[in-house]
Structures are given as structure tokens and as C-alpha cells.
Amino acid sequence: MSVNKEFVKFDKVDKSYDGKVLVVKDLQLDIAEGEFITMLGPSGSGKTTCLMMLAGFETPTNGEIYLDGNAISSIPPHKRGIGMVFQNYALFPHMTVYENLAFPLRVRKIPKDEADKKIDKALSMVSLQGFAQRMPGQLSGGQQQRVAVARSLVFDPQLVLMDEPLGALDKNLRESMQYEIKHIHESIGVTVVYVTHDQSEALTMSNRIAVFNDGKVQQLSSPDELYEKPVNSFVAEFIGENNTFAGEVADISGGKCKVKLASADILANPISVKGKGERTTVSLRPERALINPSDKMDNIHKGKIEEVIYHGDHTRVRINLLGNSEFILKVPNSSSNLDIKLGNEIKIGWNSEDARALDPK
């Protein structure tokens, strides 16, 4: 059985609420069957709007959304058969956990004994057996969250949408729920579209991540690619930490480019620059730069240590390097790094391949 690569398809979707501003611009997005895809972006970037359009609570201003090959824009939400987990769980407070889970089965007129089996299965999936007769108000936040997940899955939908479901939980619980949701997804193979503004959540859970900004998908790729190879400076800034140099391309040749900064030239990897004279922002991950590089690196510069912050397993060092006083280095804590002292001048090196010359900010 071949996997449907276009299980969900956004085809040139525009959305505007007031007729003046486009919240979603010309969205083109394919989601494969069984995939866990995350829409990640700052608030107001249009990710939740996309989810609401998919769920049927908003209609696209232009374009069409397809679910398994069928256009769904004119289908009301209750006929779409899409499971959804809401930001504040949206459990029905006047029903027990059992009744909450039975709701989608009852409206589908599934016989009671079959429904009971499904409810049992769904509750055991989120390890909440024995909680069926509790009211939602008697459960902790994490338990309510699990009930919400179980409820969205109990009627065996092919697609489940999750709208920042872990936003209200504390950090530890959030992390354990991330794994739990990931494992549920792996065990039942349902397609999940997940919305969050928390990048670590997105990196942990997803097969692919769509980074939203300004109503557009900036980059759609796997978590590692997103982190290692951001295609523009927004993605580089938004995902993880990032050191930047703004400059002008002086030369491009052989897969490398020379970027002229105010005080010196550096070598970088040309990603979105085409020719000489272009403005560019060079992006470099903090862990890709080394202190006192021993091996041959094609960028070696001197900088002055301005701040040292102890973080337990590593030390963060802020350095004034080539006119950028916000240059951050992550140094693993080991006995060999004892000369990191405030005010010291140190040598810093990195490979030009890791320094990505992206669009200017």
C-alpha cells in the first residue's frame, strides 16, 4: 500500500479576516498520510488560522483545501471527521470522562458495547484506566490533557489536529506529554497536524516542521534540516540560537563566498546570495565555532571575552568579535578551557561551510 503523499493539501490558500490584511498568503502545503507535521511560528503568523481552516471553523478566502483528494471547504466541521485537541482542552465540564469520550461515538450512533470497547482502548492508550467516572474538574491539568487526546482519537479519525495542546502545562509535564503524544502517534499511525510556538516541542515531536511567519511557510523540512540548514534568516533566528554578521558579498567562487564586514572579511557558504555586491546576513550556530581551533579552519579571528555565564554542563561566553558584541559561544565544561576569563583575547575559528550567507534582515 503506497502512502498518500497528499493526504492533506492546501492549494493556494489565502485568508483574510478584514478584507485588508492577508493572514495567510498563498499557502501551498502537502501533508503525507501518517505524518506528524508541526506548524511553528510566532503568534500572529497564521498557523492557528490554517488549523482552523482545516478543522472547518474558518473558511479560506481563496483557494481550496483537500482531504484525501476531496475538496472540503464547503463541508461543515461536524462532517469532516477530524479529531481535534484544543488549547484549553475543551472537555465538557458537565460530563464524566466516559461521557466525554462517548460523545463522538454517540453522535455516530455506534452501539454501546462497541463504544465501550473503544473508550476502554482510548483510555488505556493515555494510561487513564479507572478514571472513566471522574468529572473533568476532578482531574489535574495533565490528566485533562490526556482525556482531550483520548477523546480526539476515540472515533478513529484519520487526521488529528492539535492546537497548542501543552501550552497550559508546566515544563516537566509538558516534556513527558510530548513523548507520550509522539508514542501514541507512532503506535496508531494517525496523521497529526500540531500547532505550537515552542520550537523545542516542535523539534522533539515532528516528522516535518512548517515554520510560519507573516502568513507564509518560510521553510518546510525535517527538524534536523531546519536546525542545521535554515534557508533564510528568519528561520535561522527563530530556531535555536544564532550568531549573525551583516555584510556585503565581495566574491563568490567554488561554493564559497567572501563577505565583507566593517572590519574584516569572512568566508561563508552562499545559500541565498547570487552575486557580488549583495547585502547578506551570515548565520552561524554557537556550537559550530571553536576556541583555539587546532585543526585547519578557514575562518580564524580574534575576539575579546565580555561575559562568562556558567550553565553547569557548558559555559556560555559572550565575545566581541568582528564588531558583533553579541557573539555567543557554547564551551563544554572541561579542564582544558581554563583560560576563559573576562577580558581575555582568544582565537575563534569556524568552517565556512557552517556559516550560512542568507538574506539580509
Partner: protein
Amino acid sequence: MSSETKQILTTDGIPLEVSLKKAEKKNKIKAFLLVAPLLLFIIITYVFPIGDMLMRSVDDKMVTEMLPKTFKSMEKWDGQDLPPEEVFEAFYFDFQKLIEEEREGKLSTQLNYTKNGFKSIIKKLRRKSKSFEEGNYKEQIMSVHRRWADVEYWRAIKRRAPAYTYQKYLKGIDMYENEKGEIINVPEDRRVHRILWMRTLEIAFFVTVFCFLMAYPIAHLLATLPMKYSNLLMICVLLPFWTSLLVRTASWMILLQQQGIVNDFFVMIGLVSDDNRLEMMFNKTGSYVAMTQILLPFMVLPLYSVMKTISPSLMRAGKSLGGTPFVAFWKVYFPLTIPGIGAGCLLVFILAIGYYITPALVGGASGTLISNQIAFHMKSTLDWSFASAMGLMLLSGVLVIYWLYNKLVGIDNIKLG
């Protein structure tokens, strides 16, 4: 270990419990002093008048005090035949004393409540008694009017002997205690109060239903519209609330009368002909329309305050789980609004059941309620004890409804905002 060694002491050596009580006592006194003005106010303006009303409704001392000798001599009378001479004699002396104090008019009013026909014969007795001779009062009194020779009237006097009576309550539900002490219905053509009670319940019930039907969508809109529109709508709901009740009722009179705006409009669009204008005032319709409008905010506000707390994502959840919009509403939204419905209905029903000004002005004869009857007895017939009895019956009716409501819905489920 003895309990004494376990006792925890404060640093001053006083047992902790004692010093805690001391500290709390101050707080208790403070709390009491804070509520004292209100408590006093409630006692003076609420508890005391209601107690007084209760006393008045059963108090029958007036006649007892006016005819002390008569009632004493009547104790031996079996009530079968005309009372013996000594009763007549005692009555004569009591009556003479009342004439001296100019209180015989009150006696006639009181006795007339018990049995019609006392007024004229007491007046006549007063005139004739001036020329009474000593002795044989039975003959002399009986000769004043033939009703004085009727044993029924003497039985009526005897029935007023006890200092306390529940007659007024019986009268309130169109019953009375006859000469033999049986409690029976008054003749059908004289049953006014039962009709009024039923009409009061009916109007209060339907006004509640109408208010609910109109308030529910308004409250829903109020709770879901964006702020700038919902504020405007809220003002529309509250504006009539801030207007004087009398003004609003009077404006309904202008609107509803036969030459009024509503009728003019109906004639204009050809719904009714000009010579056949609708009667919408001085009947039940008037009471319904005006009371529904006036009581509407009392339904809207509790509903609104409850609906405001219902997250819109619940309806969305209901729909996304496969419920049609109706199912999502009926199974999810509606059950969550029940506390508001309960509060609103209870509030409107209780206010409607005791409504006075509006039915008095626009209700006419067929639209008046029990409270109008109470006012009538307070102001016109001056039968305050009967008015008190009906007032208390109304109050206990409300308490019964409250109790029933508590049984059915649970008072804890109420949310007034």
C-alpha cells in the same frame, strides 16, 4: 504522657488555644459590628413587619376586647337556640360602653366581616337602645330588628370570641368555617380569590416563559459578540432597567391603548380594520406584554453572566467531534447554561408573582393579580388582617417554590453573576 504536657504554650505562657480564642474573639466582634447596621436595618424593616403581619393576620382580639362580658356569658350557651337573657344583658352593657367610647362603628364593621347584615342592625340598636328600660333585655333587643331574634347572628358573634383566628386564611382561598365548625367552600359565584391565585400563577409562569424565550438569544449574543457591539447591546438591555417603572408602564399604556401606536400600526399595515381595533390593555395581554418587558433584564443578566464563562471552544469541540450544530448546542452548550436559566427563572417568577404596579395600571379587571387584591384590602376595605393573611400566603407560596426549586435543580447550581 498526660494531656497537660502536650499542651502548647505561647511565649507568654498562656495556652495556645486560649490565646487563639482571645484573638479570634476580637475578630468576631469586629465582624459583628460591621454587619450590625444591616442586621438592625433588616430587623426593623423586614423581620419586624413580617412578624407584625403574621400577628395581624391571626389577631382577632378587637372584638374579644369590645365584648368581654358577652363572650364570658356565652361560654355556657350551647349555640342551639337563642342565647339566654344573661347574654343579651351582657351584650347590652358591653354595647353601652362602646357607645360611650364611640367605638360601636368599629364593632359593626368587624361583625359585618363575619356575617353580612350587622351594619344596619347595630345602627338601629344604637338609636333604640337609648330608650331601653332596665331588665328583660332579650325582649327589648329582639324587638329592635328581626335579625336580632335570628340565632344565626348570635352564632356569628360567638365565632368572634377567640382572640386568634385562621378565618382570614380560609377566606384567602375562598373557604369559610360555617356555624357547625365545618370548613367549606364559599358559593361558586363568590369565589374571587382562587381565580386570582390561579391567574397570578398563570401570569407569573407565562411571563417567565416569555422572558426566557426572549432573553436566551439576547444573552447568547451579548456573550459572544465582540466587545464594542456587546457593550451597545448591553446598554440597550439596561436602559429600560434604569428608567422608572412607572414611566415604562405608562409608556406601555400609550403604546397598547386602542388609539395607541401599536394599534395604529396594525391598522396601517391592514392587519386589523379601523373599527375593530385590538384590545391589548386592561386585560391579560397588557399584563403579559408590560411585565415581560419590565422583567426581561432579570433574565438576561444571570444568563449572560453564565454564558460569558462558557468557552467558545466547547461548541467547537462538540462540532469537531461530529455533533451537528444542534447536537453541540443541546448536549454541550445548553446544559452548561442551566445554572443561569435557574437563577433567571426563579428571579423572574418570584418578582412576577408579587407584581403590583404594572398589573394595576395596565391589567384592568382580568389582568390584576393577588398583590392588587392585597393592596385593595389595605387601602379600600381597610381589612388589614385579611391583607396580611394574603401577603403571608403569597410569601409562603414563594418559599414553597424556592424549596421545590432547590429539590429539583439545587440552589447551589444557581448563578446570579
